[in-house]
């Protein structure tokens, strides 16, 4: 029976799924659930879990994971084979999204200011860059402590979403 290691919002789930005579058999962390799923068109479906109704839209995320839209909100989810994930854990390889050594533009826009220089140590929350997009100046802050290895943009430069802006050591 297919078994997956699923990570949502930092929480890990062990999900087994089977499909038998038109019916899903799902167990989450060993707990069996009655699940029905009806397609609503394209990537949307109606999920009934123990009678509980929920409309979901599951789409591919840019990072290879999935993005699940529910109740007007969205969640990033990673799904991998359960056994592979276990092996990886034993081997000490980080599972889930990697902390990126490169910092990419989260949106297209105009770089107003680069506040750091190569070699500079930055702390979590420290401003890295100022990008103007949608008429707003957005201050991009460090997500953790790091050392800047290289800066690839300068003030006044236009960037597209996904462009590498900075590299960390």
């Amino acid at each position: 029976m297919p078994r997956y290691h699923v990570v949502v919002d930092g929480k890990e789930f062990d999900v087994e799924v089977n499909y038998r005579s038109g019916q899903y058999e799902v167990s989450v962390n060993g707990r069996p659930l009655r699940v029905q799923s009806h397609r609503l068109g394209e990537s949307r479906s109606l999920l009934l879990v123990d009678n509980q109704s929920l409309e979901v839209d599951v789409r591919i995320n840019g990072d290879g994971g999935k993005i699940v839209f529910m109740k007007g909100m969205e969640m990033s989810v990673s799904v991998e084979d359960y056994n592979l994930a276990q092996l990886r854990k034993i081997a000490g390889i980080h599972s889930g999204p990697l902390v990126e050594a490169t910092f990419r533009a989260p949106m297209p826009g105009l770089v107003i200011d680069v506040r750091v220089q190569p070699g500079q140590k930055v702390k979590r929350g420290e401003p890295l860059l100022v990008i103007e997009a949608m008429k707003m100046e957005n201050i991009i802050k460090a997500k953790g402590d790091a050392i800047v290895k290289a800066t690839h943009v300068r003030g006044g430069q236009s960037v597209e979403k996904g462009d590498v802006l900075l590299e960390f050591e």
Binding site: P2, V8, D9, K11, V15, V17, Y19, S21, G22, Q23, Y24, E25, V26, S27, V28, G30, P32, R34, V35, Q36, S37, H38, R39, S43, R44, S45, L46, L47, L48, V49, N51, L54, E55, V56, D57, V58, R59, K66, V68, F69, M70, K71, G72, M73, E74, M75, V77, V79, P106, M107, P108, A133, M134, K135, M136, E137, N138, I139, I140, K141
Partner: protein, 510 residues
């Protein structure tokens, strides 16, 4: 003198253009939309009776190009221009240009816009009208030493503000002397680049004030009313996020005093049309004049919900030279209304704009719910403009009912493709301080430092895990799922129900 308007060009885009077009429809007035390259199939173009292309996507090449707007109005023989908010709405040159071209500008006169748009002049006028202002001073032409001395007299923390403009641009809070020089320079340069006017002034920074504003209407004949207040304290980066009316702290007596103060300055400025007088209000009920916004506000619908008036229709009626049909004693405010601004932004990433295509879009409905959208399903959210995509407006008999409807409506939204502030609003609707009405302009930073909030319930997180696992399973196995129409293969719950015990044991061995 009364002049019937037959056709209005709406010099804007998105939800506010759609909003104005709806008022035009109600009045039997033909609406003309304008659109840039990337807005060719935008919702406001689809909603307009006529639509004219006005240039490339950047607003500096389209929505801000006065020549193109005027030309579109001439081509379509519009007799009036509604500027919406933003873009050219508070530009006195544009208002003047309209008049020169024989077009009615739906808003106050260029002189009034100019006077009130200059914060220093507006401040002087407010003092003359008997309003309290926050202690502060002009820094024009002073050297940095003299400026610092003036600022010391006011006392830190202080707020540096651009004399022109608004919306948080060119605004800096300065906590101490050491940071003053840099803040002054950056505020001034931002003001210069944003408004072409680098003048700044400083004020005492109030620690935890509320932002409360009064909606006014004044006709060409001098009749003026105020339509209650709007509490707009919930802001980030000086941008309003949630507004409500009435304010949880405004008593009828305070409403009357603030309303009359607002009417005073509106009268003295010669204001014609719908205007908003903004105040900062302290715990003890003392209120300080902030500024007059010489346009329709984003948050005008909450006033419409409680007053029953259509403010855009009132604007048009005033622009036609008609007299107000409502007197102050007729103003009856009923119930409570709340607006949640839905931005295409990622709250978990510090509200960075999120662009892309709406793969699904189904706004909520039902009792007490109004959604003013600028988008529809498959709309593209372009990078060039304000990230507001919709405004959720709810009404209830009282504040608790309005909040419960906001919760319901937020959960009812179906939207895929871009990140939005919907979930963020949902969190606020459960915040204890919000529920207590204990608000200030620092609400968000105090309650959610580091944008730290729990968006998802444990149940919802588990559902997401199941949905993603099922999706992987189906794609791997290429199972064809019924679409609910023809498939009878997914079984009924009755059969499922009876199979429950089997299911229990199947996973129970782990």
């Amino acid at each position: 003198m009364s002049h019937k308007i037959n056709k209005i060009l709406i010099a804007n885009r998105g939800e506010i253009a759609v909003r104005v077009m709806r008022a035009c429809r109600d009045l039997g007035i033909t609406s003309v939309g304008v659109y840039s390259e990337c807005d060719k199939t935008a919702y406001h173009v689809r909603m307009s009776d006529e639509a004219v292309y006005i240039g490339n996507s950047p607003s500096t090449e389209s929505y801000l190009v006065q020549d193109n707007i005027i030309r579109a109005a001439k081509e379509t023989q519009a007799d009036a221009i509604h500027p919406g908010y933003g873009f050219l709405a508070e530009n006195p040159e544009f208002a003047q240009r309209c008049l020169d071209e024989g077009l009615i500008f739906i808003g106050p006169s260029p002189e009034t816009i100019r006077l009130l748009g200059d914060k220093l002049q507006a401040r002087a006028l407010a003092l003359k009208a008997g309003l309290s202002v926050i202690p502060g001073t002009d820094l024009d032409g002073r050297d940095s030493k003299a400026a610092l001395q003036l600022v010391r007299d006011i006392g830190f923390p202080i707020l540096v503000k651009a004399a022109a403009g608004g919306g948080g641009k060119g605004m800096r809070v300065v906590e101490s002397e050491a940071l003053f020089a840099e803040a002054l320079a950056s505020a001034s340069s931002e003001a210069a680049s944003s408004f072409g006017d680098g003048r700044v002034f400083v004020e005492r920074y109030l620690k935890r004030p509320r932002h409360i504003e009064i909606q006014t209407l004044r006709d060409q004949h001098g009749n003026c009313v105020y339509l209650g207040e709007r509490e707009c304290s919930i802001q980030r980066r000086h941008q309003k996020v949630i507004e409500e009316t009435p304010s949880p702290v405004v008593s009828p007596e305070l409403r009357k005093r603030m309303g009359e103060a607002a009417v005073n300055i509106v009268r003295m400025s010669g204001y014609v049309g719908a205007g908003t007088v903004e105040f900062l209000v302290e715990k003890d009920g003392s209120f300080y004049f902030l500024e007059v916004n010489t346009r329709l506000q984003v948050e005008h619908p909450i006033t419409e919900m409680v007053s029953g008036l259509d403010l855009v229709k009132e604007q048009i009626s005033i622009a036609e030279g008609k007299k107000l049909t409502i007197r102050q004693e007729d103003v009856a405010l009923r119930g409570h209304a709340i607006e949640c601004r839905i931005y295409a932004e990622d709250p978990s990433e510090g509200f960075v704009p999120s662009t892309g295509r709406l793969k699904n879009y189904r706004p909520p409905s039902g009792p007490g719910v109004r959604v003013d959208s600028g988008v529809v399903i498959f709309s593209e959210i372009p990078i060039y403009y304000d990230p507001i995509i919709a405004k959720l407006v709810v009404w209830g008999q009282d504040r608790p009912e309005a909040i419960s409807r906001a919760r319901r409506a937020l959960e009812e939204f179906r939207l895929s493709g871009v990140k939005t502030t919907i979930g963020f609003h949902r969190v606020i609707m459960d915040n204890k301080k919000f529920l207590d009405g204990d608000l200030s302009t620092r609400f968000l930073e105090e309650e959610f430092p580091d944008n730290n909030y729990q968006l998802f319930s444990d149940d919802l997180v588990e559902r997401a895990a199941i949905a993603a696992a099922l999706d992987t399973f189906v794609k791997e196995r290429k199972i064809t799922l019924g679409n609910g129409r023809r498939s009878r293969s997914t079984g009924s719950s009755w059969t499922t129900f009876h199979r429950r015990n089997n299911l229990r044991s199947f996973g129970g061995s782990r």
